[in-house]
């Protein structure tokens, strides 16, 4: 094997067999990141071009989908030329406590049943669309693409502890958005036991 083996027919055939089948996965991930089909198209094209050019660096037998997600994420960040730097403490345990403190407060004020009264699917998709980076990528990878914490840490290039804190904070932010949507939709704590907003 040479450094240019990715340009050989054998390398191309491996690329076709191992990388190209993940185009739908890459497109879905890109669409979730960009929230725009046209932008997602650009990210997918750039992702596969970069993947092809660096195919010689891909380790045979490793997870091609994970490798492509890493490139997708990098292409997306490059296209946006931004990655918000967290200046506050990234602590997964504290984020977990904070997340469930929200639920405790909901139970205390009687709003814990709100989420059972709204259609969670559309509400969550809307909340995901509005979720900011870097939390969004952690949630997308772990909760929607079924990646482990370790896989997500490799894709995002961050320690597992940072994946935890971003993931847990992202989940808490989604919960906050759901509560806001439910209240905006007319559900209130006074409607405990009813099935929907007053008609």
């Amino acid at each position: 094997m040479t450094a240019s083996s990715h340009t050989t027919r054998e390398g191309d055939q491996r690329f076709e067999a191992e990388a190209l089948p993940y185009m739908d996965d890459v497109y879905r991930f890109a669409l979730s990141l960009t929230r725009d089909p046209s932008d997602a198209d650009d990210v997918v094209q750039e992702t596969f071009l970069r993947a092809y050019r660096s195919w010689h660096t891909f380790q045979p037998g490793s997870d091609a989908r994970r490798w492509l997600f890493t490139i997708t994420r990098n292409v997306f960040l490059r296209s946006r030329e931004r990655e918000k730097r967290l200046v506050d403490l990234e602590d997964g345990d504290l984020e977990a406590l904070s997340s469930f403190a929200v639920h405790s407060q909901m139970v205390r004020d009687g709003s814990d049943q709100i989420l059972s009264r709204i259609d969670l699917g559309p509400a969550l998709r809307r909340a995901l669309d509005e979720l900011d980076e870097p939390f969004k990528s952690a949630v997308l990878l772990v909760d929607l693409e079924d990646q482990s914490y370790e896989a997500a840490s490799q894709i995002l290039g961050i320690p597992i502890g940072t994946v935890r804190s971003r993931l847990f904070r992202g989940r808490r932010m989604l919960q906050d958005k759901l509560i806001t949507y439910a209240r905006d939709a007319g559900f209130s704590t006074a409607q405990r036991g009813q099935r929907g907003p007053k008609e």
Binding site: D12, V26, Y27, R28, D41, Q45, L49, D93, H103, E145
Partner: protein
């Protein structure tokens, strides 16, 4: 081993609840949290709430989204221009 007798408090259980639901703890730690949840009426509602939330989140995936045919053609055109020849 004495792990089977080890108890964790509510704070620890809640700190590890997301990890537990994500199946990201060691087997011993998974057992610790599971045993706590079986006995604790305060933490179990958090678990049930979080489980419903995660199930809804997983279902929100863009499951039907497929790369459009036009995009597939563009990707292949780009690759061929870069020398791809499978």
């Amino acid at each position: 081993m004495t792990d089977c007798n080890r108890d964790i408090d509510c704070r620890t259980a809640v700190q590890k609840l997301w990890d537990y639901l994500d199946d990201e703890l060691t087997p011993e730690r998974m057992d610790d949290v599971r045993r706590h949840l079986e006995r604790c009426g305060s933490c179990l509602p958090h678990h049930d709430y979080a489980r419903v939330f995660l199930a809804a989140l997983s279902a929100a995936r863009e499951g039907e989204a497929r790369a459009p045919e036009q995009l597939r053609r563009r990707v292949m055109d780009n690759l061929r221009a870069a020398g791809f020849n499978a």
